[in-house]
């Protein structure tokens, strides 16, 4: 006999899918980007210069830009998990946990601003 799914089970499932989806999407972008870079032979391993430029470059099929986009997606994956839990706990009335998740999201936001601002 299987147990009926609770709302907490469904939240765990959303977190699972968020993390796995982020890893799969970023890995796909990294594989594509590396492959294109190898074909293009663009050897310069330059650091990223800005989100807009990365997105435009990736859309234009530039390998290194696709790699950078994949890395950004990867870095945002755990942050997305924090956002999912904040919303999920708030919608279940678990305000204390939602508040803690918001605090973590705020700290991550500070880090993003410090890093890219």
């Amino acid at each position: 006999m299987t147990m009926p799914e609770t709302r907490d089970d469904s939240l765990g499932r959303v977190v699972h899918r968020t993390l796995l989806g982020g890893v799969i999407l970023s890995a796909a972008l990294l594989v594509c980007g590396l492959s294109v870079s190898l074909v293009q032979g663009a050897g310069a391993d330059e650091a990223a210069s800005g989100l807009g430029q990365i997105v435009r470059g990736a859309a234009a099929g530039q390998g290194v830009a696709m790699v950078n986009l994949g890395l950004i997606v990867l870095m945002l994956t755990p942050a997305s998990r924090v956002a999912v839990l904040a919303v999920g706990w708030a919608s279940r009335g678990r305000w204390r946990q939602a508040g803690i998740a918001l605090a973590v999201a705020l700290l991550l936001g500070i880090s993003i601003v410090l890093g890219t601002g």
Partner: protein, 296 residues
Amino acid sequence: MDPGLDNVFVLVVAGAGTGVLGALLGTGGGVFLIPILVVGFDVPMHHAVATSIISVIATSSAVASGNVQRGLANMPLGMTLETATTCGAIAGGLTAALLHPTLLEGLFSFVLVPTALLMWRSAGAAPANRIDPHHADVPAAPPSQKSPVPDDPLAGSYYDAALRRDVVYRVRRLWAGMGIAFVAGNLSGLLGIGGGVFKVPALHLVCGMPIKAAAATSNFMIGVTATASAFLYFGRGQVRPVMTAAVVLGVLAGSAAGLSLNNLARGRFIKRLFAVLLLAVALQMFVRALMSGGAS
């Protein structure tokens, strides 16, 4: 000089090797990855740390997704401790920018010593997939319940397949756990290691969590902790995209392979062999830091 496209395949293999080791030995791959990049490929220390931090995000996210699905990771506790780990990681990431690479290498070699000692000790301990039944000191409850102990939102439970029953536990000494989490986050931001080798024993011994839940919750936290400092390195231009992508893909593949080879690591000999190897690496990095410090 960072390795570029010419070395993509070698970097994937190096990443895969550290991924396998990390999964086999129950450590983050960073303790092996950074020495390989710095000593083997002559990558600047800050770039190696940045690469390690991002590969830690990849493996942590992949493993945590499975642990969450199985109900092993205690998400409320993990999120609470993440307030401390992210503060520590931001502080570490900011501090790293101020430190000379040689000093960072020296610090890294020092941290490898307790890591090796803990690895040596863990060789004689019960593996993380066995549960100490003494920790199951409150009645079992379905793992899906929001907290198995009504007055304790941080209490957790999970189904242990080996014991064929639910294991329920309370978390003790949260503030001590927060302090340890801050230090682990700081080490992550400063040196690019996940810090699980310190956090898991601390959550088990200090906070009273069963070792399996401690390992899963530690892993759950590592991704967010690493993200907190990753953006700092990214913004400073220390994330080299091609090198990092190759290593990340290798580490992901290696971790998956390592988990399927996990039985091999049950022998004491392998863990102790790598503990000694880690000490040798620590010595080599210390000597290297000493020599470059003397030369500069």
